[in-house]
Amino acid sequence: MDPTVFEQAIVSGILIGGLYVLISIGLTLIFGVMRVINFAHGDLMMAAMYVTYWLFTLYGIDPYISLVVTIPILFVIGSVVQRFLIDRVLAGPQESQLFLTLGVMLVVQNLALLFWKADYRAINTYYTGAVIRLGGVFISVPKLTSFFVAVLLTALLYIFLTRTRTGKAMRATAQNREVSSLMGVDVRRVYVIAFGIGTACVGAAGTLLSTFYYISPTVGTTFTLMAFLAVVLGGMGSFTGALFGGLIVGLAESLGAVYVATQYRELVTFVLFILILLVKPSGLLGRSRV
């Protein structure tokens, strides 16, 4: 085992893990606040990737700058999905929500397929191929930049959840919907904001990811399952859980790609997912909340 190969895998694992954290926090926020498992999560990320791609291709807007566009757009999409679709089935059985988000997944994915075909696309900026050398380890500049932006956004979200009135209302709703409603929290408004923020998180991650990852209409499903894996690992609905979960999945995939085989990278995610759900469905950190 070559030590630099190992170090290289660890570094790439942490860098990609930072993005997984952002995706997973979006998912866990939605689950924590309204107990909805959103199957369209990864596909909404795919939508953000295309927004970034077209802004870059048509107008030459740098992917990192396009964050100021994708985050609001995805926030609006998420809020609309919650307000007009999911809100109607929240009181129903859980499978209604599951099937509804599956429906959203089908629509989003196949609309993308209709408009942009199944082609794999990539964004080629002047820094796409840039690397920094640190000892024996090569670090891709876009991966590193994306990692830091993801960490920054995660930190901002944490501050929002703990310091602002709306953030506190969201956490209260996650803990107990009835009681927070009695305390004067507008629960339906909180739901709309939570779904919007959760989707904005995955949208931001999509933009950051598109600086070094291929873009295609079917890219979402893997990320949805990856996010579920991370969230289940850390405990459904837990912010810190999603932090650890995201990093662990990033590392596992990166090491799996090196030591198993590159084409089985996705496979590592799925097998891990099955194992974790079977062995410890309540997550490694036990259960906690947003």
Partner: protein, 340 residues
Amino acid sequence: MTTKKSTSLPRSKAYVPLVIMVLLAAVPSVTSNSYVLHVLIMILFYAVLSEAWSILAGFAGQFSLGHAAFFGIGAYTSTLLFIWNGISPWVGMFIGAGLAVVLSLIIGFLCFRLRGPFFSLVTIAFAETLRLLFLNWGPLTGGPVGLLVPLSGDSPTNFQFLSRIPYYYTLMAITLIAIYVTYRIRNSQLGLYFMAIREDEDAAQSLGINIIRYKLIALAISVFFTALAGTFYAQYILFLHPDAIMSLNFSIEIALPAIVGGMGTIWGPIIGSILLTPLAEFTRSILGGGYAGVYLIIYGSILILTMMFLPNGITHAIAARNRPASRSLPRKRNHECVGS
């Protein structure tokens, strides 16, 4: 049993689906139009798949989203046995179904501790794992190129026909058997156990029902027919590709007729398929190959609208309207997702 009653069409309307089946059986004597027959075959195809899915999901309440994997096992087993050993797909069909059932029992044994959406998630993960394995096992499955079923002309012993009519009647026979099995399940103690598990697992267990065992029985019956349909598909389409037949999208397509038509009913999946499949087929033939995914946009929209306005499906909605005194299928919101 009120539950049992509320899952069926009102007695006065019970003949309607039968009439539909008789009419469907008579179609080839009226027209031999190849396209009409193809659409009818696809209707039956999704009807039998959804009927099988509904045994597990509708009656026992376990929402598998990985049935495409079992379908794929059935299709690949019979095809590979035919290519390698010259075993007739008529025989391979049952070997494939047996293999799929064995695999499903292993998966089910491991996964049935998980409840609600977590069970659905793990079935997706299993199916995706199998799809990726099949996609990467080049020598076995042809990998990303796909697998062609060798042509043997008009060869009834090898489950290959030049006309669509024998395919049509073969599939109709499988569908009728699946309907009959569902009917027998619904009117038996087994069906009551399934529904007890669906309504409340903890209550069912406390009444002494071995819930894992009955979930496994539901899974095995469901997977058996799913794999049979897999072989049918292989012989009818004569081309297999993991992305086409083992994907999550296909698992959703399997489930959709039952969800729209009404889960936990005998005729719901059939009615669902009669409504949905022509929509997909017509969209495909009007728009052509370049817009292959358009019907999935329509399916997705229908799924969303069904959940919003008819969460229990069409059959239940009709039944509820005709019998205003009785409630439609009672379903509770289940907060407890993960088994302890």
